[in-house]
């Protein structure tokens, strides 16, 4: 334990819903394009966000955070003003009227993408991981109930990877909590 960790921890501020009116504030140009579409090696990570009735959620916003293709964590600014050349590892995608989101990015060298989900009606953010199809034997996945494990693994399609998010219901996505949450 570090000395800092032995201090009484402060209580984290409560989260609140992103609400319905983030659409003019959080999106920015090329937010969902971590690399320009058409870049050599680019993949599409896309899917649909569903509610407990299986209806699409048209007012969700997702954030992606990932390593570069070599598996290195990127610590470079420039996500909000993309220059088309700097891979920052972070992006943001809003769902459309059909609940669909799409990122253009590189396949990470690490086994998973980290994903955060915000939506109207969702009172706090949700964390999850999008495992690559060939990482299905990852040790963390073995800690997840076998019948829900597949909710954390992307499936390949002709443009890249599909990952649907089910906020609720039979196919509810496994969401994560971390120590100190």
């Amino acid at each position: 334990m570090t000395p800092a960790a032995q201090q009484p921890a402060l209580t984290p501020t409560a989260g609140q819903t992103v609400g319905p009116f983030f659409g003019y504030a959080l999106p920015f140009p090329d937010d969902e394009h971590l690399v320009p579409p058409g870049t050599a090696g680019a993949v599409r990570l896309h899917g649909t966000v569903y509610d407990g009735h299986g209806d699409p959620v048209p007012d969700a916003i997702l954030e992606l955070w990932q390593t570069d293709a070599a598996g290195e964590v990127v610590q470079r600014p420039g996500s909000l003003r993309r220059d088309g050349w700097t891979f920052t590892g972070w992006g943001r995608a809003s769902t459309d009227d059909l609940g669909h989101y799409s990122f253009t990015t590189l396949t990470p060298g690490a086994p998973f993408f980290a994903l955060t989900v915000f939506a109207r009606g969702l009172l706090n953010r949700l964390f999850t991981r999008v495992y690559l199809p060939d990482a299905a034997d990852d040790p963390f996945l073995a800690t997840v109930d076998a019948d829900r494990r597949s909710t954390l693994v992307a499936t390949p399609d002709e443009t890249g990877l599909v990952f649907d998010v089910h906020l609720q219901g039979d196919r509810e996505t496994v969401f994560l909590t971390y120590p100190r949450h």
């Binding site: 984290p12 501020t13 409560a14 598996g71 964590v73 909000l80």
Partner: protein, 283 residues
């Protein structure tokens, strides 16, 4: 007013006069079927059960399953979250710099060719991690309604004026002490369709990054003494009164500038970091 039949999702068998009101508005899953009295009774019942909890532990984050906020009914996970130890990228946060955020973006009153209407304010405070350390040079994003309670978002069509000189979106980077500072105008309360005659207390949305992905959060800052607090299911979804009160800024006369603006202070604490601990245990 006769209470209307309806279930938790705002559907039911409303009387005819009421149908006209609902259908006159754009269709919304939030179309109001309950009265404020109904929602307030639900809020009160949840609050009483929380106050009577046997173990006494504080619930400092909002409930995801909070039926008085109708839109949460189908949008909350029903299964307990999976415990995970942060790995790889989760131990780091994206980096933002001066290239991402211009200094002028922290002043929401200078984004157009004229002065926005309303009460000019400064909102400032520190972003700290769970160990009390400042979160340095990290992105803070804010967005809000104008002084009349209207968002520039196209979906907000309620009859309050837009302000041609106010967008209501700002960004800044915290400084070396974790301090953020925005100049803006005080937002107005606004109506929404969670239930009949529902109004949100005035608030500013805040989006925060820590030094690790696991600290990412979005929240809302409120203004002291708002009469709508007790009526608002989003604010009340934080069932612990002390945790709820921490969402309310403090009026700070030292931040008030003569003949210029009123000052508000609001500090934000993110969840505890892991990286220091793990780096230490690696040694």
């Amino acid at each position: 007013m006769i209470p209307l039949a309806g279930n938790a999702e705002g559907r039911g068998a409303p009387q005819v006069a009421y149908v006209r009101r609902v259908t006159a508005a754009p269709s919304s899953p939030d179309a109001a079927a309950s009265s404020q009295a109904d929602v307030s009774a639900e809020i009160e019942a949840i609050s009483t059960r929380y106050d009577d909890r046997p173990d006494g532990t504080a619930e400092t984050q909002p409930r995801l399953d909070y039926p008085p906020y109708r839109s949460s009914v189908l949008r909350h996970p029903t299964k307990a979250p999976q415990q995970a130890d942060p790995e790889g990228v989760e131990l780091w946060a994206p980096v933002f710099g001066q290239r991402d955020v211009a200094a002028l973006e922290a002043d929401l009153t200078i984004q157009h060719r004229g002065e926005p209407q309303g009460e000019r304010i400064v909102v400032t405070g520190r972003v700290l991690d769970g160990d009390g350390r400042p979160v340095r040079r990290q992105l803070v994003e804010v967005w809000q309604a104008n002084a009349a309670g209207r968002y520039i978002h196209q979906r907000d069509q309620h009859p309050a004026p837009l302000d041609p000189y106010f967008t209501g979106m700002g960004r800044c980077l915290t400084d070396a002490d974790g301090v953020y500072r925005f100049t803006t105008i005080k937002p107005g309360p606004y109506p929404w369709r969670n239930h009949r005659n529902a109004w949100r207390p005035a608030h500013i949305h805040f989006s925060l990054f820590g030094t690790e992905f696991t600290q990412r959060m979005i929240t809302q800052m409120y203004f002291p003494g708002d009469p709508l607090f007790a009526l608002d299911p989003i604010y009340q979804s934080v069932v612990d009164p002390a945790a709820r009160a921490r969402l309310v800024a403090t009026y700070d006369h030292d931040e008030t500038e003569p003949e210029r603006w009123m000052g508000y202070r609001w500090d934000i604490v993110l969840t505890g970091p892991h990286r220091t601990l793990m780096e230490a245990s690696d040694q």
